[in-house]
């Protein structure tokens, strides 16, 4: 019986989702391959344009030769079909090729250098803002008329609509200029070579603090408002009213009745946010001059660096679809209704 149930779950639940996951990933990667090639931007011409606009004298008589040499060097010769086949061959070997604009740096190496900064910053801030928003919003939703809840509502109403750039810049002015406790930007102090020491680690943490706080505060405010709304809706459900009338303690109602039911949409929100980490945090990186995937992707797009765009997008697509797939697998554990459907 149990074995039959597992098989049924595997066939009816797992396999369709696995197929969906693989299909969406495949389509996403294909879109990432073709879309940049539809742009008018040409990585070779952008390189030439950069070199010329920065003042290097390119002898007009030899520009054509330089262009054809670069095309050969960048592997951009051949039809789109040939490039497409070549791309899949390389992808299965785990190779995205070389960055065209940051030639001859391999795309994986560039992504590899940026990922620790992005993941370190966004994983922590996303998870903590989710957790803080969940706990505080959950309690606030259950006790919506308390004074501290109204105060929090006011603060979140004030903070949430602020454009992120403005909010981040306000933090920078206050804590890096008016009260210069934190650095103006960068991932570590100038002249400090990466090393395994407490001082270097503390230096990195201190540089990450303002970007982290800016993301976490805004994230928490958003999560707080969402959780509070969801909890208030659940609060009005009959089973919660019944539990209250039955004398179940408030804390137990929040944790076992309300939050558990609110968990599904909030969990989905967390999973999607975690998946999107690999897109980077462009504005955070710009305001705080912080390293990461956001600026790497931005410069790839600006310079028409097909390979780098494809590398970052592929990783991002795989991360998002994998997270959704894993969430789908976890849903039955969280919600018996899904399990018994």
């Amino acid at each position: 019986m149990l074995k039959g149930g597992r098989l049924r779950f595997f066939r009816r639940y797992f396999l369709p989702r696995l197929a969906q996951y693989l299909l969406v990933t495949f389509i996403g990667i294909n879109v990432a391959f073709f879309i940049p090639r539809l742009f008018p931007s040409d990585p070779v011409l952008e390189t030439i344009g950069t070199i010329r606009s920065q003042g290097t004298y390119l002898d007009p008589a030899t520009v054509d030769k330089f262009i054809s040499d670069l095309r050969e060097l960048y592997g951009l010769e051949g039809t789109i079909g040939e490039q497409y086949v070549d791309f899949w061959k390389r992808l299965f070997r785990g190779d995205f090729g070389i960055s065209l604009f940051q030639f001859p740096e391999p795309v994986l190496s560039l992504i590899g250098k940026a990922i620790p900064w992005t993941v370190g910053l966004l994983l922590t801030s996303t998870f903590l803002s989710w957790l803080f928003g969940l706990v505080i919003g959950g309690i606030a939703g259950y006790y919506p008329n308390r004074l501290w809840v109204r105060a929090l509502d006011a603060v979140s109403m004030l903070v949430r609509p602020l454009p992120y750039y403005i909010f981040a810049f306000i933090l920078l002015i206050i804590f890096a200029y008016v009260v210069p406790w934190f650095p103006l930007g960068g991932g570590s102090s100038i002249g400090w070579r990466p090393e395994l020491s407490f001082r270097f680690f503390a230096d990195v943490i201190r540089h990450a603090f303002l970007p982290f706080i800016s993301l976490t505060l805004l994230g928490t405010a958003a999560m707080y408002q969402m959780t509070k709304l969801v909890v208030q809706n659940i609060n009005a459900e009959d089973f919660v009213q019944y539990a209250q009338l039955g004398g179940v303690k408030g804390r137990a109602i929040i944790s076992k009745y309300v939050l558990r039911n609110a968990m599904l949409p909030l969990f989905t929100n967390l999973v999607l946010s975690l998946g999107q980490i690999f897109g980077g945090a462009l504005i955070t990186e710009i305001v705080f001059s912080y390293p990461g995937l956001g600026t790497l992707t931005y410069h790839a797009v600006v310079s028409g660096d097909y390979n780098l765009i494809l590398g970052v997008t592929t990783i991002s697509v795989v991360a998002v679809t994998t997270c959704i797939f894993l969430a789908d697998l976890v849903y039955p554990l969280l919600d018996p209704r899904v399990r018994y459907r």
Partner: protein, 628 residues
């Protein structure tokens, strides 16, 4: 409870206070009093591990072209003077320009102690010539027949055909073909992928450290700085360390300067005004409005696609010039802070005597034919005074004497004459509808998309916004289109009006305009849709071809003869106006005098004022530490 909170509070405060001195902006090994911190113009380095600048684009303004390399020659645009670096003398051509001799300076060494000799020069030329994909490979292949060392300090290069400007490949104005250390590169199997890390320097500094994420690079003064051309020519560079620092946002640069964490920055107009207003130790290139560096050798403006109607018609192009109120235009683009230029070269102190003053009468007499026997003289020498008046009306202190006003705001520009523009357009079949909107001769609404860069702070973008606004006011459906594909669209001719350079910069501020003019030669014009090797306007003319050919056979060291051909060429450009020069490329440079003084401002321009140009190295021996 209260006591516990109090203890916690005191502990937190203590940790904070103790922690702050430990984490300064600089690592403990870099004393601030000996460190100069400047910003990196092109932003964060994309390939921080790679110092092989002979291949592709390597963010060489991170200190490579300024401190790591000594070129054979470099040009100081503030003076127009060519400075002999690794070369001991100027290049020596034979009579028909088929052979050039380069004499090297004696007593200069690579940073690893190996002498720099003629072998390095010959090796560089041969390696690059034989390696497609390396920068300058194509010109070396098409020009060089043979390069050989006559002795340890003399190189002879035999050319395949006469070329009086061959040496300019080695003339550093914002990059050039630098000499590579033979003893390093001869062991390299693939010079295209070789990272040259750690690099060996010919310049006065060596690499100290860099951020693997590309935000900073630190250079340390060589112990044997006196065995480099910089040391020999100008003495010891004062800062022991020089940091190139990239910021993500111009506003952060302002905060950096105000915190004395950044000694020199290239800002936007708005950021420069902010930092001057707030920073008590901050100064600009000029002591009063317009503050900016007015000696930059580049000219900004608008470029027509002369292969696309109606921009293939010079009268239409001239009508668009006369529809521009340059005072208003400057105000929109750069808040009136840049010198205007009516010529396709910037208005520089050195160029005033060479080109602008000799051409002044011609400019005043230059006449447009409006048809029906009516003519119009478009030149307006009063423009600088109008710009000065505008600044004065805004409360800025501006120079008083006419000469100073011209130095600050330029010599003059073209009249704002919408009525004349209307006559020129009507003469060519254009007409206005009842709403005042202009229509093309075929009856369709006249729309102009003015292409600009996506970076809002770039002067190209500022030009596109100002032009679109003023042409719109004139009745044309004009809009600024800001695109990340700016270069691709320009090179393939997919635009109507773009804001790429209206003419290429001359070599620094030298009298030789060959670099400015040669892209206009008809042999460099490609059909629309193909990449054009020449100027993006795709304009050429038989007269200009003749003048360029004449310039090719003129000795570039003959200033009088070279400038004379230059003047005639500039006249042709004005008559046909394939692009509209508007104002000088303007450096919104700010210097903080908290740690370092004696910056090369307008009152003492001992060197060019930028930290991103190669000759920055020649500024360093003259900076003085304040001892703070």
């Amino acid at each position: 409870m209260n006591m516990r909170w109090r203890i916690l509070g005191i502990a937190f405060l203590g940790i904070t206070i103790l922690t702050i001195p430990v984490f300064s902006q600089l690592a403990p090994s870099l004393p601030r009093s000996e460190t100069l911190i400047v910003d990196q113009l092109t932003g964060r380095t994309g390939a921080p591990d790679n110092f092989n600048e002979w291949v592709g684009w390597k963010w060489r303004d991170r200190g490579m072209q300024q401190l790591m390399n000594e070129p054979l020659w470099s040009i100081d645009f503030a003076t127009g003077e060519i400075i002999n670096g690794l070369a001991a003398t100027l290049p020596e051509y034979n009579g028909d320009f088929t052979q050039v001799t380069i004499r090297l300076r004696e007593g200069v060494y690579w940073s690893d102690g190996v002498p720099i000799t003629a072998d390095d020069v010959v090796f560089t030329i041969e390696l690059i010539k034989s390696t497609p994909g390396m920068n300058y490979q194509a010109p070396l292949e098409s020009n060089v027949n043979k390069a050989y060392a006559v002795d340890e300090h003399t190189v002879v290069i035999e050319l395949k055909q006469p070329n009086s400007r061959f040496h300019t490949y080695f003339l550093d104005r914002w990059g050039c073909l630098w000499i590579m250390p033979k003893h390093v590169f001869k062991t390299v199997t693939d010079p295209l992928t070789f990272q040259f890390n750690p690099p060996v320097s010919s310049g006065p500094y060596v690499l100290h450290s860099y951020d693997p994420s590309g935000y900073w690079t630190v250079w340390e003064r060589r112990e044997d700085w006196d065995r480099t051309p910089t040391g020999i020519l100008f003495g010891m560079p004062k800062p022991k360390y020089v940091v190139f620092r990239a910021y993500g946002d111009p506003a952060s640069k302002v905060l950096g300067m105000l915190r004395h964490e950044l000694d020199s920055a290239d800002l936007t107009a708005e950021a420069l005004k902010a930092v001057l207003a707030q920073g008590r130790t901050v100064r600009a290139y000029q002591p009063s409005f317009p503050w900016v560096v007015n000696s930059d050798p580049c000219i900004t403006g608008l470029t027509f696609n002369t292969m696309k109607p109606p921009y293939d018609n010079p009268e239409v192009r001239w009508a668009l010039v006369l529809a521009i109120d340059i005072v208003n235009y400057e105000s929109i683009a750069v808040d009136g802070m840049a010198p205007v230029s009516p010529l396709h070269i910037p208005y520089l102190p050195g160029y005033a005597a060479l080109f602008f003053e000799p051409m002044e009468e011609w400019l005043k007499e230059f006449t447009l034919d409006l048809g029906g026997g009516e003519t119009f003289k478009p030149y307006d020498p009063e423009v600088p005074f109008k710009l000065a008046e505008l600044a004065r009306s805004r409360g800025y202190a501006v120079p008083e004497t006419p000469e100073d006003i011209k130095t600050a705001f330029g010599p003059g520009w073209w009249k704002y004459a919408p009525d004349v523009a209307e006559k020129l357009l009507t003469k060519n079949g254009f007409y206005r509808d009842e709403a005042g909107r202009w229509h093309l001769p075929d009856g369709s609404l006249w729309k102009i998309r003015v292409l600009g860069r996506s970076d809002l702070s770039h002067l190209s973008t500022r030009n596109s916004i100002a032009a679109a606004q003023l042409w719109k006011e004139f009745g044309i459906a004009a809009e600024a289109v800001l695109s990340v594909d700016f270069s691709s669209l320009g090179l393939t001719g997919e635009f109507e009006v773009t804001t790429d350079w209206p003419a290429f910069e001359p070599w620094g501020a030298g009298p030789d305009l060959y670099r400015t003019l040669s892209p206009f030669h008809s042999e460099n014009v490609a059909p629309l849709g193909e990449t054009t090797p020449g100027h993006v306007s795709r304009w050429s003319s038989p007269v200009m071809d003749q003048l360029i050919d004449q310039l090719e056979t003129t000795d570039p060291t003959n200033v009088g003869a070279t400038a004379a051909v230059g003047i005639e060429s500039l006249k042709v450009l004005i008559q046909d106006m394939p692009s509209i020069p508007t104002f000088n490329y303007t450096g919104f440079v700010a210097w903080d005098e908290y740690y370092w003084t004696n910056w090369p401002g307008i009152e003492n321009p001992y060197a060019q004022p930028y930290v991103h140009w190669g000759p920055f190295k020649y500024m360093l021996p003259f900076l003085n530490p304040t001892g703070r």
